[in-house]
Symmetry: C2
């Protein structure tokens, strides 16, 4: 039985940064999230890949259940580029391929899961997956600017069904047309979720709940090599930590956010998934301790 | 005897924001810094004003020694505007007036001060003021993009003579031509100061020392009305706190940064100096306690 389900994209990425490039490498929101969550709890991944996906790529995913992955014709492909300031990916090409008519179908062994991460993917797919879970899981939803622009209404319905919504700073501002992140965070809560998290990259993350606020510092990274998947790793680390401890109170969420931030910081230090495939839980715990020291006063 | 000296500009400001405007109001880096420092220790201000400065404006400065202010012909004037996102002031007009040939002269009662804030002003004036202090004070230096662009060499000499250097994120990136704030912070230390602080506005502030790093959260402000002087208030609060406790160890500096952040957050909630003239030390302490809660995990 799988207790943590992650729904999202699985793709082959071409990434260019000022520090290197990589072609046709395993990527996608479900991949980064699952790799990150797997440090705490074995996740089951729901997604779709084509026949062109090299078998050895998927085999790299240890401690991850792959039985929720369906087969299509051609794998989703994304080509992106980062400029010198590394702030935001510039998408050069997106080929949805088999993702364009993806109809998520959960194995029976996934349907009683208590934790569900709806990683960035079409909000229609997010809702279809969510409806297959039987026991009202704790739902974390992530998204991106593309869906805010093109499927805002559907995305808002999906947010309403989630317990914790994650957006980055630009997306939160875009969704509510405000420059103020504190306002945007409060407005996310008004949609229904118990918690809202705004990811701010190098500046850390903000957690909003009805009567509380938490500001997580950013990890002091001197060598940022490739931010691809850092936000997905953050989400995966957070939900993996919650699932492991089987708690969703605010204290555990704050800790999960710091673990998610620690993993995301490793993710950004190497191209694509390279760092996530290399680090150990002891490395992550070491960074968690650094986080404790850098916010003491 | 004055134990805390603040050198900087004193001016009359015209400020426009999407939330209101104000004309010919008392401003300048020394004014905001001194108002903020005065919550902890009576500062002596070194600056220059013209005959056009209304006497009642300066009288509003309680618990601040004004005997270091010299008289010139016409007061420095600044006209600035903030757009909807409130990120950065757009300078519409600057009239240096009597500030253009300002030769700071410290009263004898200032010369044994143990704490010196070189608030934003021409680095030549900063160095001239510093050279008049007798007992190697603890020196905090602030500056701005204008001096980085136009007097970089002189500014760097001034930084080398300071113990703690303060810049905002944009200025730190500009000075070292790097997008990475952690790198910029380390490079500031290489110039000589024992501490470097990078102010990040809503994202808080970073403190660098040789073997340590501190990340201060931003205060969750929903109503940002006018950021003018917030950075100066931060600097004044920090040095005021150090002077009051007569300590410059890292722990005290971390606490001073939080007090400076608390005062800066009030400053940004109202036009020009309005909030600084209204709040009490109990208001500031209340926000300090909020800062403690929002970073717990």
């Amino acid at each position: 039985m799988i207790n943590l389900v992650i729904v999202g994209s699985i793709g082959l990425d071409d990434i260019k940064t000022p520090f290197g490039k990589i072609s046709s490498t395993l990527g996608g929101s479900a991949v980064y999230s699952a790799l990150s969550a797997s440090f705490f709890e074995k996740p089951g991944v729901v997604g779709i890949v084509g026949r062109d996906m090299p078998q050895e790529e998927l085999k790299a995913l240890k401690n991850i259940d792959l039985s929720g992955i369906s087969k299509g014709e051609k794998t989703f492909r994304w080509e992106g580029k980062y400029e010198y300031d590394m702030n935001e990916a510039k998408t050069l090409k997106t080929e949805l391929n088999c993702l364009s008519n993806f109809n998520p179908s959960l194995p029976n062994s996934y349907k009683n899961a208590k934790y569900l991460l709806l990683a960035n993917i079409d909000p229609d797919s997010q809702i279809k997956a969510l409806n297959q879970l039987k026991n009202e899981p704790f739902v974390i939803l992530d998204s991106m600017n593309f869906w805010i622009k093109n499927k805002k209404e559907k995305l808002v319905s999906a947010i309403k069904k989630s317990d914790l919504v994650l957006l980055n700073d630009g997306e939160a501002r875009q969704l509510f047309n405000t420059p103020n992140l504190i306002k945007a965070g409060r407005k996310l809560l008004e949609l229904g979720p118990q918690y809202a998290v705004i990811k701010k990259g190098e500046h850390g993350a903000l957690l909003f709940s009805y009567d509380s606020f938490f500001s997580a510092p950013g990890y002091p990274l001197e060598e940022l090599k490739d931010p691809t998947g850092a936000g997905d790793s953050f989400a995966g680390g957070l939900i993996g930590y919650l699932a492991k401890h089987n708690k969703t109170d605010e204290k555990t969420i704050r800790q999960g956010i710091i673990f998610g931030s620690a993993i995301a910081s490793f993710c950004a230090e190497a191209l694509s998934t390279k760092a996530l495939l290399k680090i150990k839980i002891s490395d992550i715990k070491e960074r968690y301790e650094v986080f404790q020291k850098i916010r003491e006063f």
